[in-house]
C-alpha cells in the first residue's frame, strides 16, 4: 500500500483505486490455484474485503471530491490514468454489495464440493464472479478509452461462463449468442477508439474532452462506440441475447448479469458522452438514444406481461428497466449550450442504475428460491405461494416497489429526478414514457403477486424446504433498494441538502 501511495498520483488515496482492481484478480488467481474446494472460501473472504475497499474509495471521494492515480507514475497521454468520482464511487459500492449478496446466496449451490473431483461448476462460478467484479471495478475507474476496452472484454469473458455453468445445450447456445453480440459490440467500440486516436492523438478521457472537434471522424467514432456499447448493454433493439441468457443461468449468476454486468457498458456510454465527448452531442442524436430507451421500456414491459415463466418475466423486466437509463441522454442535453450537462437527469440515471441493481438482484434471487421450493417457475402454478413462502414473496414485492417507482423506494427517487428533468427541459414526451412504463411494470408484477395470493389449485405439501438465511439475502437487497429512496427523498424536505439533490449539485 505504501509503495503504491509513494508514486506520483494526482490526488491522495489513489492507491485504493489500484487495490480495487488488483484485489479481485489476486483472489481469482488464488481460487484457480486452490481449485474447487478452496474457491468458495476465497470468494467468501474476498467479497467483504472488497466491499471495505469500495467503501474506502467512497469515503475518499466524499472527502476530496475525486481520487486519481497514474499507473507507473506516467501521466497521460503516454500513461494510463485511474480516477474515481461520485459516479464511480456509487457504482463501486453497489457492485461490491450486490456481488457479496450473490456470493452469500450462491454458497448453497456453489459451496465447497462434497465429493472429490466434483465442483467444476463451483470453480466456474467463483472465478467468473471475481473476474466480473475486477472488470467492473476497472470499468468504473478507468480513464483511458483503450483501458476501458480491455475492461469490457474482461467483463464479457467473465460473464459468458455464468450463462452456461450447467453445460446443457440450450445454455451453451445462449452463451454463444451473448458472446457474439458482445464481441461485435467491443470490436465496434475498438474501431471507434482507433478513429479517435487517429484524429486526435490521445485516448485519455480528460485530454480528449479538450481536443475533440465536431468533425466526421469524431462523429463516426462516437456512433460506432455507442452502437457497440448499446449491444453490450442489451438496449432495445439489441437486447435479443439477454432473455435466453437468463433462462438457464443459476439465480446468483442471473443476479450478477442483470444487476451489474450490463451496467458496466452503460457506465462507459456515460463516460464517453459526458466526459470524453460532451461537445459532440447533438439534439437529434440524443433524442434517438432516448427513443431506443423508450422503445425498451414499452417493448420490454409488454413482453414481460406475456411471459409464463417467472425468470423470463424478470429478464424482460431488465430489458425495460435498462431503457430508463438511456433517457438520461435526451434529458441531460442542454439545447442552448449544444452540449450534455451533468445535473438532475444524470443523478436520476445513476440512482436508477443503483436501485435497479439492488432490486433486480433481489428479484432474481427470490425467483430462484420460489423455483427451488415449487420445482418449477410457471406463474400459473403459483397458487398458495404467499402462505408457503412469505419471506421470498415479500422480497420479490419490495423489489417490485422499487422497479415500479413507488415512494419511498430508490426507483421512485430515480424516476422522480428523471421526470423533473423532463419537465425542466420541456420534453414532456419522455415524462409520458416514464409514467406509462411505471404502469406496465406495476401490471406485470401485480399479475405475479395475485397468482401467489390465490388459494392453491392443488395441496402444496410437495414444497421443498429452503434455508432461512437464503431468504434473508434477497430480502436485505430489496430493503436496500427501497431505503435508498430515503436519500433521494431529499427533494421533498425543505432545506435538506443531502441525497439526490446533493448528488445533482456535485455533478454541476
Amino acid at each position: 500500500m505504501t509503495l503504491l501511495a509513494e508514486t506520483v498520483a494526482p490526488a491522495a488515496g489513489g492507491g485504493w483505486l489500484v487495490a480495487a482492481i488488483i484485489f479481485p484478480v489476486v483472489a481469482l488467481l488464488l481460487a484457480v490455484a486452490g481449485g474447487a474446494r478452496f474457491a468458495a472460501r476465497v470468494g467468501v473472504l474476498a467479497l467483504p474485503a472488497g466491499l471495505a475497499i469500495a467503501v474506502a474509495i467512497a469515503d475518499g471521494v466524499a472527502k476530496h471530491g475525486v481520487l486519481g492515480y497514474y499507473v507507473g507514475g506516467w501521466a497521460p497521454p503516454l500513461g494510463i490514468a485511474l480516477r474515481a468520482d461520485v459516479l464511480s464511487a456509487a457504482m463501486l459500492v453497489t457492485t461490491a454489495i450486490v456481488a457479496s449478496g450473490a456470493g452469500l446466496y450462491a454458497l448453497h449451490d456453489f459451496g465447497p464440493p462434497r465429493e472429490p473431483g466434483g465442483g467444476r461448476q463451483t470453480l466456474g462460478f467463483w472465478v467468473s464472479l471475481l473476474g466480473a467484479w475486477a472488470a467492473l471495478n476497472l470499468a468504473f475507474v478507468g480513464r483511458d478509452l483503450f483501458n476501458l476496452y480491455v475492461a469490457l472484454e474482461l467483463l464479457t469473458f467473465a460473464a459468458v461462463p455464468l450463462v452456461c455453468l450447467d453445460g446443457r445445450a440450450p445454455t451453451l447456445q445462449a452463451a454463444l449468442r451473448y458472446l457474439l453480440y458482445a464481441l461485435v459490440g467491443s470490436v465496434l467500440y475498438l474501431l471507434g477508439a482507433v478513429l479517435l486516436y487517429g484524429a486526435f492523438g490521445t485516448l485519455d478521457v480528460e485530454l480528449l474532452a479538450t481536443v475533440v472537434r465536431p468533425e466526421p471522424a469524431a462523429w463516426a467514432a462516437a456512433a460506432l462506440m455507442t452502437a457497440g456499447l448499446l449491444a453490450k448493454t442489451a438496449l432495445f433493439p439489441l437486447h435479443l441475447w439477454l432473455p435466453p441468457a437468463h433462462a438457464g443461468a443459476p439465480p446468483a449468476a442471473s443476479a450478477v448479469l442483470s444487476a451489474l454486468v450490463v451496467k458496466g457498458s452503460f457506465f462507459i456510454v456515460l463516460r464517453l458522452w459526458f466526459d470524453a465527448l460532451p461537445g459532440l452531442a447533438t439534439a437529434m442524436a440524443m433524442q434517438f438514444i432516448g427513443l431506443l430507451g423508450a422503445g425498451a421500456i414499452l417493448y420490454g414491459s409488454a413482453l414481460a406481461l406475456r411471459q409464463s415463466r417467472l425468470k423470463l418475466l424478470v429478464a424482460y423486466s431488465t430489458v425495460a428497466q435498462i431503457g430508463y437509463l438511456f433517457l438520461v441522454f435526451p434529458l441531460a442535453f442542454d439545447a442552448s449550450a449544444g452540449r450534455l450537462v451533468a445535473g438532475t437527469a444524470l443523478a436520476g440515471g445513476l440512482l436508477q442504475a443503483v436501485s435497479h441493481a439492488f432490486a433486480k438482484a433481489a428479484m432474481f434471487m427470490s425467483a430462484g428460491l420460489v423455483a427451488v421450493a415449487l420445482g418449477h417457475d410457471r406463474i400459473e402454478g403459483f397458487g398458495g405461494l404467499a402462505r408457503a413462502r412469505p419471506v421470498s414473496l415479500l422480497a420479490f414485492a419490495l423489489a417490485g416497489v422499487s422497479l415500479v417507482g413507488l415512494p419511498p423506494s430508490g426507483g421512485f427517487a430515480a424516476k422522480w429526478l428523471l421526470l423533473s428533468a423532463a419537465v425542466e427541459s420541456g420534453q414532456w414526451w419522455w415524462a409520458v414514457v416514464i409514467v406509462l412504463g411505471g404502469l406496465l411494470t406495476g401490471a406485470y408484477l401485480i399479475l405475479v403477486l395475485m397468482r401467489a395470493l390465490q388459494e392453491p389449485a392443488a395441496p402444496t405439501a410437495s414444497l421443498r424446504p429452503v434455508a432461512a438465511w437464503r431468504e434473508a439475502v434477497p430480502l436485505a437487497l430489496a430493503l436496500l433498494a427501497v431505503l435508498l429512496g430515503l436519500a433521494g427523498l431529499a427533494p421533498f424536505q425543505p432545506g435538506a441538502g443531502t441525497g439526490a439533490v446533493a448528488a445533482a449539485e456535485a455533478f454541476q
Binding site: L78, F146, Y149, V150, E153, T156, F157, V160, C164, D166, G167, R168, A169, P170, T171, L172, Q173, A174, A175, L176, R177, L179, L180, L183, V184, V187, L190, L191, V194, L195, Y197, G198, A199, F200, G201, T202, P244, A247, G248, P250, R309, K311, A371, V372, G375, H376, D377, R464
Partner: protein, 112 residues
C-alpha cells in the same frame, strides 16, 4: 494512391466484409471467422494510424503498435472462447446455427 490510403481502404473493406458475414451467415463457425475478419480490419487501421504518425506528427507512432498487440491477444482469447463454446455445444447435441434451437430450456430442477 499512397500506401497508407491503400491499407486504410483494405482495412475498411475487411471490416465491411466481416460485418456482412456476421449479419447474413447463420452458421456459427462462419460468424466467428467473420468476427476475426472485422478484427483484422481494425488492426490494419491501427497499423495505418501508427504509420501515418497520428496527430503527434511523428513518423512512426509506437502507441498504436502497443495497442494492437493487446487487441490481437484479446481477439485471440475471444476466438478461443467462442470455438470452445461451439465445440461444447456440438458435443451436447446442439445445432450449428441459432435457427435450430436446442430443446426448450426448462428451469433447472434441484437434485432430489
Amino acid at each position: 494512391m499512397s500506401p497508407t490510403t491503400l491499407f486504410g481502404l483494405c482495412g475498411a473493406a475487411l471490416v465491411g466484409i466481416g460485418l456482412y458475414g456476421l449479419l447474413t451467415d447463420s452458421r456459427l463457425l462462419r460468424k466467428i471467422i467473420a468476427f476475426n475478419l472485422v478484427g483484422s480490419g481494425v488492426f490494419l487501421l491501427f497499423g495505418v494510424i501508427a504509420r501515418r504518425g497520428a496527430a503527434a506528427e511523428l513518423f512512426g507512432d509506437p502507441v498504436p503498435q502497443a495497442l494492437v498487440i493487446t487487441g490481437i491477444v484479446v481477439a485471440f482469447s475471444a476466438t478461443a472462447l467462442a470455438v470452445a463454446l461451439l465445440l461444447r455445444l456440438h458435443e451436447a447435441g446442439g445445432g450449428a446455427t441459432f435457427d435450430t434451437p436446442a430443446d426448450e430450456a426448462g428451469v433447472k430442477r434441484p437434485d432430489p
